[in-house]
């Protein structure tokens, strides 16, 4: 059960493993789409309600553990490690899992990659005023992330990495030094936040020496309310959020489209 070992070896042979994983996933995923309704019926009769309840609980646990580390969850992994022989009733189990997340935890399982069927858990609860980032309470890094996301957003959605480092330096967080709270700041920002899908750290082509730029990651898009972020920036500068017309327009559009989902 040493998932940590798996993660270590995965990063070591990334390219080799990626092709292997894709193969496995294709097999796993293909299975999902080939299930017939009679198979579903038979499965439902074969397993007792108690057994199915148990499976739902196991899937919830599995997703919670992955999400605790902010690792996106692959449908193939859920199938391989948890659902296993119950695959025929995968849809029914997942429906109940989603209901549990909603009714008990106030969380929502969202597909961030429809092609590869990758999910994340986002918070459905309204972020509290004074707690503008909808992250898990008690995390000191959320403040750091919030600042970076704000800068990116206010500057139009993509910025060169230097701007991030300079902004942080002004706040006495120097990526070149070890920070008391955050440790290796550069690693947290370019590795941890990127892996967790809060940021994207992309090479700018044809730059010599190589330069990188930052954008919002998929999880930030889903979790962060741009409107609330703009309100907070407004408070910081003592300005009406609407005074930044372009950002306000973008934030309002994002708000209405996320409310629809």
């Amino acid at each position: 059960m040493s998932q940590r070992k798996k993660a270590v070896s995965a990063s070591q042979n990334k390219t080799q493993r990626r092709s292997q994983v894709c193969l496995d996933e294709d097999d796993e995923d293909a299975h999902f789409s080939q299930i017939t309704s009679s198979q579903v019926q038979r499965a439902r009769e074969h397993f007792t309600p108690v057994q199915i309840d148990r499976k739902v609980a196991e899937v919830v646990q599995f997703i919670l553990i992955k999400d605790q580390k902010k690792i996106p969850i692959r449908r193939a992994d859920i199938g391989k490690h948890v659902i296993k022989e119950y695959k025929a009733i995968y849809t029914e189990i997942m429906n109940r899992v989603c209901r549990k997340f909603d009714q008990v935890f106030g969380l929502k399982l969202v597909e961030i990659d429809p092609k590869n069927h990758i999910y994340i858990l986002i918070n459905k609860l309204e972020p509290i005023h004074g707690e503008p980032v909808s992250m898990r309470p008690g995390n000191p890094k959320s403040g750091l992330l919030f600042v970076i996301l704000s800068v990116i957003f206010m500057k139009g959605g993509v910025i060169k990495e230097n701007l991030v480092w300079n902004t942080l330096k002004k706040l006495r967080v120097d990526p070149g030094e070890k920070h008391d709270e955050f440790g290796d700041v550069k690693k947290v920002v370019t590795d941890e936040f990127v892996r967790q899908k809060y940021l994207e750290y992309v090479k700018i082509p044809h730059t010599e020496p190589v330069e990188y730029e930052f954008r919002w990651g998929l999880r930030a898009e889903k979790e962060m309310s741009k409107l609330k972020l703009l309100e907070f920036v407004g408070e910081l500068f003592g300005q009406d959020p609407q005074s930044w017309t372009q950002q306000f327009r973008e934030a309002s559009t994002a708000e209405t489209s996320s409310q629809r989902s």
Partner: protein
């Protein structure tokens, strides 16, 4: 059927999930904060009822918010535990196999000991004879730090004890593994690692230090509750906030009620 969970309950549960364990006084403050945030009806001192509603819904997921007492400060804590765990699987996703083996061995040392603690020297010796893969001195120190940071162990002057989180979460596992070998407190009937013992050789009951403090409060002639022999140990003071009822709200000087952004910058 249990009443449905409101947003206040969900927020409480989410906070429990990210913290793993919180003190009873913080739980009371959190209860107030969650109710006020979502406009739910709030009654002070009804924390147990509030948590019972959450637990009713957690039952089908084999999870539970459990209350336990810390052996160190005698205060009560609430931990979110996984009810099905019959092993230390809770830690499995965070540690390598040999690190888990070291933890089990450390737990063995602590349970075996009279003091309910294990010295770093003894733990280092274990690290050298692991079956999975040996850990070097620096690696062992690093892992021990991680155990302390993740709130599984406490460390003081080079001695390691099991944290309240560890005992509350793994009580089931420990009772299964150690059976009669594990000490149990005569007063509260929970696992007792750091405790005082009756010196009467045919009695030998164990009592937690905080339980001693409460049981022998204001008694000039302390006697063993089982055999009535004189209790020869120093009676500790009752922990500070236990002099009020365990459910009362914290005094305003101790704790702020709402998590504010500045508070979040402290590691909880």
């Amino acid at each position: 059927m249990s009443p449905p969970m409101g947003d206040s309950h969900k927020r409480f549960l989410q906070t429990m999930m990210s913290n793993g364990i919180i003190s009873a006084s913080r739980a009371a403050a959190l209860h107030k904060h969650c109710c006020e945030t979502h406009g739910a009806h709030y009654v002070a001192d009804r924390l147990e009822e509030f948590i019972n509603i959450i637990n009713a819904h957690l039952q089908s997921l084999f999870m539970h918010i459990r209350k336990g007492m810390s052996e160190d400060d005698g205060l009560e804590y609430y931990a979110l535990v996984n009810v099905t765990e019959t092993d230390i699987t809770r830690m499995a996703s965070d540690y390598a196999d040999n690190e888990l083996e070291l933890f089990r061995k450390t737990m063995d040392l602590i349970v075996d000991s009279e003091s309910g603690s294990a010295s770093s020297t003894d733990i280092l010796n274990c690290a050298d004879s692991l079956q999975t893969k040996k850990l070097k001195k620096k690696e062992t120190e690093h892992v021990l730090n991680k155990f302390v940071q993740d709130k599984w162990l406490n460390e003081k002057d080079g001695e390691y004890t099991l944290s309240v989180r560890c005992i509350v979460e793994m009580e089931q596992y420990m009772r299964t593994i150690y059976q009669d070998l594990i000490k149990v407190c005569h007063v509260c009937h929970n696992i007792a690692l750091q405790c005082q013992m009756c010196e009467n050789p045919i009695c030998g009951i164990k009592v937690h230090l905080p339980c001693v403090a409460r049981y022998f409060r204001a008694r000039s002639d302390p006697r063993c509750p089982e055999c009535s022999d004189f209790w020869p140990h120093e009676i500790p003071e009752i922990p500070h906030s236990q002099s009020q009822s365990s459910q009362s709200l914290p005094s305003s000087s101790r704790e702020s009620t709402a998590p504010t952004p500045s508070r979040r910058s402290r590691r909880s």
